[in-house]
């Protein structure tokens, strides 16, 4: 049975929706339809966090809480979840995070405050230890122009002292019951010729995809939704992959890491930590917690941005993609990007899985350079994979983002280095060769000159780090 409405819990109430336009964001729904104006719009592009709310999802009978940017989340993405807004958490009695914000003078103009409160609420519900690093991680997606953050960080540091249990802990059972009551079948919303399809499993997805026309796949929506909020476009029909359990998995098999294309990046980080720690570290700087809670590798690759951070890392790692249409095919990532923002994906094909080889005897490192350390787009990104035997370079991949129209290997440099000794002299020579590999652009993020110098210097950094077996960075 296919349903024609979505169901979600808004704060305490189960809500069913089918008539609202499929391009409406959660933020606009809250503010315009529900007159819940506590959640603010600061940018409508996922960068400021003023619109932060928290979702709760049911996983193995447990509630998982995630902060999200409601400005770049479509309303229909909420199917099967609970949405918690700032008005609700302290309805009867101020929530610990709210009281802590007041007592630590965490608000000035107050416009960013609901967003911060909800980001902290997300942290609180996940029982994150309030260390300086963790606070920075959980607040990186929230901008405040007034306070200078010190007072807000103090509030986060002290929030647990106001009690570790809140009304959500108390009401857990009721919420779980309510979430369980929501029907898990496929949903197709069909209004004004715009469709929003939520497949519940892979088979249905493959089948229905063939029937629909003029649609776009939607995963986290952290890229696609901006077409609506920033370019005022209309997206006719959407197929939502975000809820699909068959696309949301992480397995390790036969020396491969298999990642379902719709797996949120945040879920991947803990697994990556053991395999490629440098990759995992980079992901902590990928957008913000709100972005990573929903953003996927599939979406990052499919958007084919020359400055996407996953692509060069996956390129260096010789990854491949399982692409699903009527049939499934496997494509090496090197063949995936065709030109600026173009991929080999054909009509109605989607990425099902990313297959990442686990190289046990290689060294993998990646570096992200941006104006601001947290939540910024790379000006230059580089990933290295090095197979070194007795100081001889057996094999090496050097993949760059931000240096060309697509993510790209530094093939001339690689060619020069492979078979040579891994020593300062060779690295020094290869620094000059990189210049022949790329002819980067100048834009608002960096000049071509800077990109050239940094790409050379990062090669040197990689060399020094491997050589000295320690990293020498400012952080």
């Amino acid at each position: 049975m296919i349903k024609n409405e979505i169901e979600f819990i808004l704060n305490d109430n189960l809500i069913k929706i089918k008539d609202i336009d499929t391009n409406v964001t959660v933020l606009n729904y809250l503010r315009s339809n529900k007159k819940l104006t506590g959640t603010k719009e600061g940018c409508a592009s996922g960068d400021c966090g003023a619109c932060t709310a928290v979702t709760a999802e049911l996983n193995n009978n447990k509630l998982t809480y995630k902060s999200i940017n409601t400005c770049i989340t479509f309303l229909y993405n909420l199917h099967g979840k609970q949405l918690i807004t700032v008005e609700n958490i302290g309805k009867d009695k101020l929530h610990p995070v709210q009281q802590s914000m007041i007592d630590n003078d965490g608000s000035q103009c107050g416009f960013c405050t609901p967003g911060f409160v909800m980001a902290m609420f997300g942290m609180y519900k996940n029982k994150i230890k309030p260390t300086n690093n963790n606070i920075d991680e959980y607040l990186a997606g929230n901008l405040c122009r007034c306070t200078g953050y010190k007072s807000i960080k103090n509030a986060a540091r002290k929030m647990y002292s106001y009690g570790r249990n809140d009304k959500f802990t108390k009401n857990k059972k009721i919420t779980i019951k309510l979430l369980k009551s929501i029907n898990k079948n496929d949903v197709i919303i069909d209004n004004n010729k715009k469709k929003f399809y939520i497949p519940s499993n892979l088979n249905n997805l493959i089948k229905e995809t063939q029937k629909l026309s003029k649609f776009k796949f939607l995963s986290g929506g952290t890229d696609l939704t901006l077409e609506v909020t920033k370019q005022n476009k209309e997206i006719n029909s959407l197929i939502y992959l975000g809820n699909n359990k068959d696309l949301n998995y992480i397995n390790i098999k036969n020396n491969y890491l298999h990642v379902g294309a719709a797996t949120p990046i945040n879920d991947l980080i803990p697994k990556l930590k053991n395999i490629y720690p440098s990759f995992a570290d980079m992901f902590y700087r990928y957008g913000s917690i709100q972005i990573r809670n929903v953003a996927t590798i599939g979406g990052n690759l499919a958007s084919a941005s020359p400055i996407g951070d996953c692509s060069p890392a996956l390129l260096a790692l010789n990854s491949s993609l399982l692409i699903q249409g009527k049939i499934q095919r496997e494509v090496h990532i090197n063949k995936f990007f065709k030109s600026y923002r173009k991929t080999t994906l054909k009509n109605k094909e989607f990425i099902k899985e990313i297959k990442i080889p686990i190289f046990k005897n290689c060294i993998f490192k990646c570096y992200k350079i941006s104006k601001r350390f947290d939540d910024d787009i790379s000006s230059v990104f580089v990933a290295f994979l090095l197979n070194l035997k007795k100081n001889l370079i057996i094999d090496m991949n050097i993949a760059f983002g931000g240096m060309a129209a697509t993510p790209k290997l530094a093939s001339k440099t690689q060619k020069f280095l492979i078979g040579k000794k891994f020593n300062y002299n060779n690295i020094h020579i290869s620094k000059k060769i990189i210049e022949n590999d790329f002819n980067p652009l100048s834009d608002m993020r960096a000049s071509s000159q800077y990109r050239n110098i940094v790409s050379q210097n990062l090669l040197e950094r990689f060399y020094l780090e491997v050589k000295n077996n320690r990293s020498e960075t400012i952080n």
């Binding site: 503010r31 101020l94 960013c112 607040l139 901008l143 990062l458």
Partner: protein, 755 residues
């Protein structure tokens, strides 16, 4: 100590804190929407300079949901929102002067439909070559205002006679305000063609005046009101006018209420920013680094119109000395016209740009002489009894920079840390550290003398509860909290008894912008004045009613005390009412002592100065230019604080905003003059991680205002921003090259390292 000071140093959180955290605090966009509300959007120029060849808005008008479209032709009054000088058209007629210049506006049934309709406009342009660089403007003598020159002593001679001279160029960057609440106005038509405008503005009175002129109506037909705004920082001092004006024009034309809330990107494109500056200097100094003479050219990017650029550049001139006595000076100030958005007020109002210059010069002198920069700074400070006259002839009477500097050097362990850093830098080739201590002396008062006035309206109701309004805007600075404390203190009540409602041109007229850090001084002064008038009425009543012959009447702990009597405040008030005593009054305040000559710029533009100092320690990565702020120590003078937690918030927030200006925040245009950093994805203000783990902020305990401000407190809004100069100087110190440009992005750092 008297009870006044005791009351003021108790902790009092922001009056709206509990509403902020629960989403109950209402901003303009949260106001209950009136029936038949329409939403507006603005169509703007896609080129930087040229002429409109043809414009076709038919498809826009036909677009779904669109009710009306307006252009310059629909303006009954003047097509200009320029505050002091003209030059800021609401809609371009034919000439386009910057990328983002508004051309038309639509009203539609929803915000989304209004924005969608804009894209259907067909406008053809005749492109012309824009002036985009300050240096280019100087070459072409393209200025928005007359060049100003200020002189003291004999510069040429003093430089010639100096043992050492250096010369060079410097650059400081622009800055977007990035208030979290974007520009917004909601206009509601009332009877008799009157309009009520909720505008997110720092300046309701001027909004009222300008909208009236645009509509060709009397000032008394326009009412501007707002309870709070989500940040301003100068960006809503004049830049909010155009949005109020357009919403009013559409409300007039359609007869419907109009909300104009613009998209963040459009906000960043349409509105002005902090002026970036170019400086060329020649300085002569002794072997100890004592400055003898400074010959300086200051040129700023004003954009297409004067806006507030006159006063901003004046303030840059007034702060070129920072805390230093410069015996001979010649300063030429160019106010350049460029084909970029008209730049405007931004926290510090030119002061930061002035201080940026002198602090760099000091840093360069230090490098040249190889003497620690803090010593050079000390050697040049204003003194108490000599060397205390500024280049604009004002005597520095309240100097405490020597003490603050000394205290902070000690508190921060500066010398030891400096030594350690020298050691670190010897040992490390890739990572380098730097440290710097810089002072701040910032003049308080509007430099346009007549703006230094404030008004208030106070009512006491018969139950003893108090309602008040004043001319200031609550934008996060805690103004309402401080004013409530002041009123409570004057009446001996708790702040719970004081209600302050929306700032409203119907309540308090002819106000000045909430700017120049002076809002508490002038509005607080006016509130005290109003309360004193009511107290005078009450005193007469007490004299008559209780046959009290004395003069002393005290208001304390909800009681009124005189002679040996003690009466409940509430009881006195209800008695006074029954005896027909007026319990309501307006109040007024004007700042004493100030004057200046507009031509020579000499005089006493400021009532007093606020002081402070900061130490920053940084580390840079010489391979990439990435950098990190390791530690900051601040000691800042707020006089006798009315509310220490609010003042600390201003100091911390001001510092971090300055930090952004000098490090990650880069405003950039492409070769065609299109702004390329128009969203938070490309324009990066500091986030949580950018503040140092060790961030020690202290209020200078001995602070005291020698002028008679409320509680002898000092203004705190702007001055702390300039404390962040210490971070830039520390980075410069780590880079060890004079040519570091601001903002010190990784790129600018790496480029300076290449030289």
């Amino acid at each position: 100590m008297n009870n006044k000071i005791k009351l003021f140093s108790i902790k009092k959180e922001h009056e709206s804190a509990s509403k902020h955290v629960s989403g109950k605090a209402k901003y303009a966009d949260d106001i209950h929407e009136p029936k038949n509300l329409l939403h507006a959007a603005i169509g703007y120029s896609q080129i930087a300079k040229g002429k409109i060849k043809s414009i076709n808005l038919k498809e826009v008008a036909k677009s779904e949901g669109v009710i009306d479209v307006i252009t310059y032709k629909d303006i009954p009054g003047i097509n200009d929102v320029g505050p002091v000088f003209k030059g800021d058209p609401i809609f371009a007629k034919k000439n386009i002067e910057y990328f983002g210049q508004p051309i038309f506006s639509v009203a539609a049934t929803t915000c989304e439909l209004a924005r969608k309709a804009l894209r259907k406009a067909k406008i053809n342009y005749l492109k012309e070559k824009p002036i985009l660089e300050i240096k280019d403007a100087i070459k072409k003598k393209s200025f928005v205002l007359k060049t100003k020159v200020i002189q003291k002593g004999n510069v040429n001679k003093s430089i010639k006679d100096s043992n050492n001279t250096i010369e060079g160029e410097l650059f400081s960057g622009g800055q977007d305000h990035f208030y979290l609440e974007g520009q917004i106005a909601l206009t509601i038509p009332k009877e008799d063609n009157n309009y009520l405008i909720y505008s997110s503005t720092q300046h309701p009175s001027e909004t009222q005046q300008i909208v009236a002129k645009v509509l060709k109506q009397k000032f008394n037909s326009i009412n501007v009101r707002i309870r709070r705004i989500g940040g301003g920082f100068g960006g809503k001092e004049t830049q909010s006018f155009i949005f109020a004006a357009i919403s009013a024009l559409l409300a007039r034309k359609t007869g419907n209420p109009i909300k104009l809330r613009i998209d963040r990107d459009d906000d960043m494109i349409i509105t002005g920013k902090r002026h970036d500056f170019y400086y060329k200097y020649k300085v002569g100094f002794s072997n100890k680094g004592k400055i003898n003479g400074l010959d300086l050219l200051l040129a700023s990017r004003c954009g297409i119109s004067p806006d507030l650029s006159g006063a901003i550049n004046d303030r840059a001139i007034y702060h070129i000395d920072n805390s230093y006595f410069i015996p001979n000076i010649k300063l030429v100030s160019y106010r350049c016209k460029t084909n970029t958005v008209s730049n405007t007020a931004f926290r510090g109002f030119g002061g930061p740009q002035g201080m940026f210059c002198i602090e760099n010069i000091i840093e360069n002198i230090s490098k040249y002489l190889n003497i620690e920069a803090s010593i050079i700074r000390k050697n040049n400070f204003y003194q108490k009894n000599k060397n205390n006259i500024t280049h604009y002839n004002m005597k520095v009477e309240d100097n405490c920079i020597n003490e603050i500097f000394k205290d902070l050097l000690k508190k921060s362990n500066y010398k030891k840390r400096k030594k350690k850093i020298i050691e670190f830098n010897k040992k490390n080739t890739i990572l380098k550290k730097g440290i710097s201590i810089t002072p701040v002396k910032f003049g308080i008062s509007f430099t346009t003398t007549h703006l230094n006035q404030g008004g208030a309206l106070v009512h006491i109701y018969t139950d003893g509860s108090v309602h008040l309004n004043h001319g200031g805007i609550e934008m996060g600075q805690g103004l309402m909290t401080k004013i409530a404390q002041i009123a409570a203190n004057e009446l001996g009540l708790s702040t719970n008894e004081i209600k302050i409602t929306s700032t409203d041109t119907e309540k308090v007229p002819n106000t000045s912008a909430s700017a120049a850090s002076a809002s508490t001084d002038i509005n607080g002064g006016a509130v005290v004045n109003a309360i004193n008038k009511i107290k005078n009425n009450l005193a007469l009543f007490i004299t008559k009613n209780y046959k009290y012959k004395g003069k002393a009447i005290k208001y304390k702990n909800n009681k009124v005390l005189f002679g040996n009597k003690s009466i409940d405040f509430k009881k006195l008030i209800s008695l006074a009412y029954l005896n027909r005593i007026s319990l309501s009054s307006s109040g007024f305040y004007k700042t004493p002592k100030i004057f200046m000559n507009k031509e020579t710029l000499k005089g006493r533009p400021f009532l007093y100065f606020s002081y402070g100092a900061a130490v920053s320690e940084v580390i840079i990565d010489t391979l990439t230019g990435e950098n990190k702020l390791i530690q900051v120590d601040i000691l800042h003078d707020v006089g006798k604080s009315i509310n220490p937690s609010i003042d600390l918030g201003q100091i911390e927030g001001g510092f971090v905003q300055g930090l952004g200006w000098l490090t990650t925040e880069q405003v950039s245009w492409n070769v065609n003059g299109n702004l390329t950093t128009h969203s938070p994805s490309t324009y990066k203000i500091p986030v949580s991680k950018d503040i140092p783990e060790k961030f020690n902020v202290n209020i200078y305990e001995k602070g005291f205002n020698i002028e008679k401000t409320v509680n002898r407190s000092k203004a705190v809004g702007e001055p702390p921003l300039m404390l962040a100069l210490s971070t830039f100087m520390a980075l410069k110190n780590a880079v060890n090259n004079n040519n570091l440009k601001a903002p010190a992005t990784p790129e600018n750092i790496l480029m300076a390292l290449q030289e």
